[in-house]
Structures are given as structure tokens and as C-alpha cells.
């Protein structure tokens, strides 16, 4: 049983008879930990490249889905079906002048895009992409994810404040108000899943959904927790700040919200963080409610590969849903958004938690 990506790399190296000689070389130098650090760096590099490629693909996919809904073609010129469009966009953004407004707080203005991007990347650490394809199976994985996501509002506030622009500040205020009010139903819906599993570890949560009722219906938590799933999905779309909840950048009112003043590479960082967050949150929805990487085991193919494919299919289904929603539904008003959050979703999430807790204690569930 291979527990995480580190052990998987060691396993593959051993399979090709490379690990032992390498280990011997480093042991002879008396620096065994250097090899460990190198393997961890390889993991991080793979994750980073994966996230970058995913973000590029997602920007292309978003434009294609919008085009599909609006009966257009979308990007078609660069590469087959416009697949290289994100590369051109990236080159354009790198080539842009990096403007810092005269009255901006230079230090925080420069720091904010990085503080936005780092949590978006850190969230991937306890996310199981497949059987043993996880950077680290933290014992408190879910808590870690919620805690790390709580850092991004600070960065948004800083970005909005440092720009010294009224639209930026208003966008940031709205973004944070929304983030804070929707984190509560998000966390409460996730806690119901934790009650069912009895563990905060993401791998345990996936394993708890491995079986099937009557051999046909998969034991995903979406069937036990339908209300929790809906609440979690709405709250996570609101947390991502996408239409119908995109108050932080509602173009018709706030120019571009908290990143109005950003250009060039710093703007690209916000963009990158936004799409990395979209993928991460969809992955979390899949892990908590849609069975994660579980699926029928196929003969002759390593379970790591099939589970990765199942995970990606489910995640892209959730992402497609978010994009579809964006193209179909108009933006709600800010008072409607806060009413929905505090008056409907928080009580419903509490009710869901209460019923789940009662049923778990009574021994009906689990």
C-alpha cells in the first residue's frame, strides 16, 4: 500500500532499480536528507506544472463554454481549436508594462498578488488526485483546507486598500464580506461529512465512500447528504467569487473590483489564483461528496492511473457546472446575497448538521 506521492516516487525509482544506488551515494556522503529534499522538490515541481497547465486549460475551457452557450465559436485562430490561446494571453500579459499607481502603497501593492497566489497553491497539498496520488495525507486535511482558504480574504483586502482607488476598496470590502459570510455554511456542510466519516483526513473521507449499495449505487455522500452537497456547492461558488456571486469584480458597477489597478504580471497572478482556486474547490467538492477518485477498478491498468482519470472526470464535471451556471444565471444583488447567506444557508446548514449528528448518534448512518 503506497500512502502518498513521495512513496510512489520511491516505488517507481525502486522499480527501475535506481533508488538503491542513489540512496547509497547520498548515504556515503552522509547526507541522506538531501535525497528526501530532492524528491519533495520534484513533487512540488510536478504539482506546480500541473496547476499552471490546468489554469491555462481552464481559461480556454471557460471561453469555449461561454461561446458554446452564446452560439459562437470562441477562440479559434491560435493552435487547433484555439488551444494555444492561453499561451498567447500569457505572453501578452508578461509583455505588458507593470504599472504601480503613484499614490499606491508600493510594498503591499506588490505583496498582495503573491499572498493571493500562495494559498491557492497550498490548498492542493492534502487533495487526493488518485489512489496514493496525494502530496501529504494530513490528519487534519479538511481543517487545513478551510484554514488556508481563510488567508485569501486578507490578501484581497490588502490589494484593494493598497491600490488607493475607491472601486478597488469597495470591491475588496464586498469580496471579504461575502467570503466571511459564506465560509460558515461551507464549513458547517463539511463538518457533517466529517461526522459521517469520523476523520478529517481527505483519504479517509474518500475511502469511506468506496463501497456500493446493492452493488450498483456508489456510496457517495451526495446521496446521504443531498442538502449538505447543495449548500457546499453554492457556498464554494460564492467563495470563488464567480457569477452569480461575483460582487468583488461586478464590471457594471466596480470596473474590475479589487484588481482594477493591477496590470501585467500581477494581474496574471490574480487570474492564476482564481482558476487554481476553481480547480481546487471543485476537487474538494468531488472528494467530499462525489466519491473522490473511487470508481470501477479495471484490469491490467494500475489503480493510480484509473483513479486519477475518475478524479479528473468528476472534477471537470463540477467545473463545467460552475461555468454553465455563470453563463445562465444573472448576478444577484448584494443584499440578496447576504440574505441568502445568513438567513437561509446558515440555518439550513445548522439543521443539516443537527439531523446528521442525531442520526449518527442513533446509529442509523455510518
Amino acid at each position: 500500500m503506497i500512502a502518498n506521492a513521495y512513496e510512489l516516487i520511491v516505488y517507481i525509482l525502486t522499480l527501475f532499480r535506481v533508488y538503491e544506488p542513489l540512496l547509497n551515494v547520498f548515504q556515503a556522503l552522509g547526507a541522506e536528507y538531501v535525497l528526501r529534499i530532492i524528491i519533495v522538490l520534484v513533487e512540488i515541481a510536478v504539482l506546480f506544472v500541473f496547476v499552471l497547465l490546468t489554469v491555462m486549460f481552464l481559461t480556454w475551457m471557460e471561453r469555449k463554454v461561454v461561446a458554446m452557450v452564446q452560439s459562437r465559436y470562441g477562440p479559434m485562430v491560435t493552435g487547433p481549436r484555439g488551444l494555444l490561446q492561453p499561451v498567447m494571453d500569457g505572453v501578452k500579459l508578461i509583455g505588458k508594462e507593470d504599472i504601480i499607481p503613484a499614490k499606491a502603497d508600493r510594498w503591499i501593492f506588490t505583496l498582495a498578488p503573491f499572498i493571493v497566489f500562495i494559498p491557492a497553491l497550498l490548498v492542493f497539498i492534502p487533495l487526493p488526485f488518485g489512489e496514493s496520488l496525494i502530496i501529504s495525507d494530513l490528519r487534519v486535511g479538511l481543517l487545513y483546507i478551510i484554514a488556508i482558504s481563510a488567508i485569501s480574504p486578507i490578501a484581497i483586502l490588502l490589494a484593494g486598500w493598497a491600490s488607493n482607488n475607491k472601486y478597488s476598496l469597495m470591491g475588496a470590502m464586498r469580496a471579504v464580506a461575502q467570503d466571511i459570510s459564506y465560509t460558515i455554511p461551507l464549513a458547517l456542510a463539511a463538518i457533517a461529512v466529517v461526522l459521517l466519516t469520523g476523520s478529517l483526513s481527505m483519504v479517509d473521507i474518500v475511502n469511506a465512500q468506496g463501497g456500493a449499495w446493492f452493488g450498483v449505487i456508489p456510496q457517495w455522500f451526495i446521496f446521504i447528504q443531498p442538502l449538505g452537497f447543495i449548500l457546499f456547492l453554492i457556498a464554494s461558488i460564492a467563495e470563488m467569487g464567480r457569477i452569480p456571486f461575483d460582487f468583488q469584480e461586478s464590471e457594471s458597477e466596480l470596473v474590475a473590483g479589487f484588481f482594477t489597478e493591477y496590470s501585467g504580471m500581477k494581474f496574471a497572478m490574480f487570474f492564476l489564483a482564481e482558476y487554481a482556486h476553481l480547480f481546487a474547490v471543485s476537487g474538494i467538492v468531488v472528494t467530499l461528496f462525489l466519491g473522490g477518485w473511487t470508481g470501477p477498478v479495471l484490469p491490467f491498468i494500475p489503480v493510480q492511473i484509473t483513479s486519477l482519470v475518475y478524479f479528473l472526470i468528476k472534477t471537470y464535471a463540477v467545473i463545467f457546472f460552475a461555468m454553465w451556471l455563470r453563463d445562465t444565471v444573472p448576478r444577484v444583488r448584494i443584499d440578496q446575497l447576504l440574505n441568502l447567506g445568513w438567513k437561509i444557508m446558515v440555518p439550513l446548514a445548522l439543521l443539516n448538521l443537527l439531523v446528521t449528528g442525531f442520526l449518527v448518534t442513533a446509529g442509523v448512518m455510518v
Binding site: 505583496l111 490528519r139 478551510i146 484554514a147 488567508i151 486578507i154 490588502l158 471579504v176
Partner: protein, 81 residues
């Protein structure tokens, strides 16, 4: 190895907690305060208290610093300089 990590984290934590007091602008102080809390969470991780560490990040960095930033931004700008 652990000793080096401990030294790095504690120096960063102490530095940022000094900067909380010494910064000229309140917002900078708040950023350093977030750094201090994250450093403390790092120390908790070194002590193998993962749960405490992430609760520290969630409550202090996520809620307290956000609250402080909100307060700073919604109140009148002080007479700087």
C-alpha cells in the same frame, strides 16, 4: 535539521512581532501581525500539534487579522507623518 527550522521560524516570528510595533502604517502592522501568527502556527507544527496550528491559522490569521484590517480601513485615516 529540526533545530535549523526552529531557529528560522522563531527569528521570522520575533522579527515580525517587533515590526508590528515599529511599523509607521497601521496596515503594515496588521500584515506583520499575520506573519507573527503564521510563525506561531509553524512552531505548533514543529511540536506536532497540527490541529492547534491550523486552528491558529483559521482563527487568528483568518478572522482576527481580517477584523483588524476591516477596522483600520473603515475608520478615518489617522494623521500620518
Amino acid at each position: 535539521m529540526i533545530d535549523i527550522v526552529f531557529l528560522v521560524i522563531s527569528i521570522a516570528t520575533i522579527f515580525s512581532s517587533i515590526m508590528v510595533v515599529r511599523s509607521k502604517k497601521l496596515v503594515h502592522s496588521a500584515v506583520y501581525l499575520a506573519g507573527t501568527f503564521i510563525g506561531t502556527a509553524g512552531l505548533f507544527i514543529l511540536l506536532k500539534a497540527e490541529f492547534l496550528a491550523w486552528v491558529q491559522v483559521l482563527v487568528y490569521v483568518g478572522a482576527v487579522v481580517t477584523l483588524i484590517l476591516f477596522t483600520i480601513m473603515l475608520t478615518r485615516k489617522g494623521e500620518e507623518e
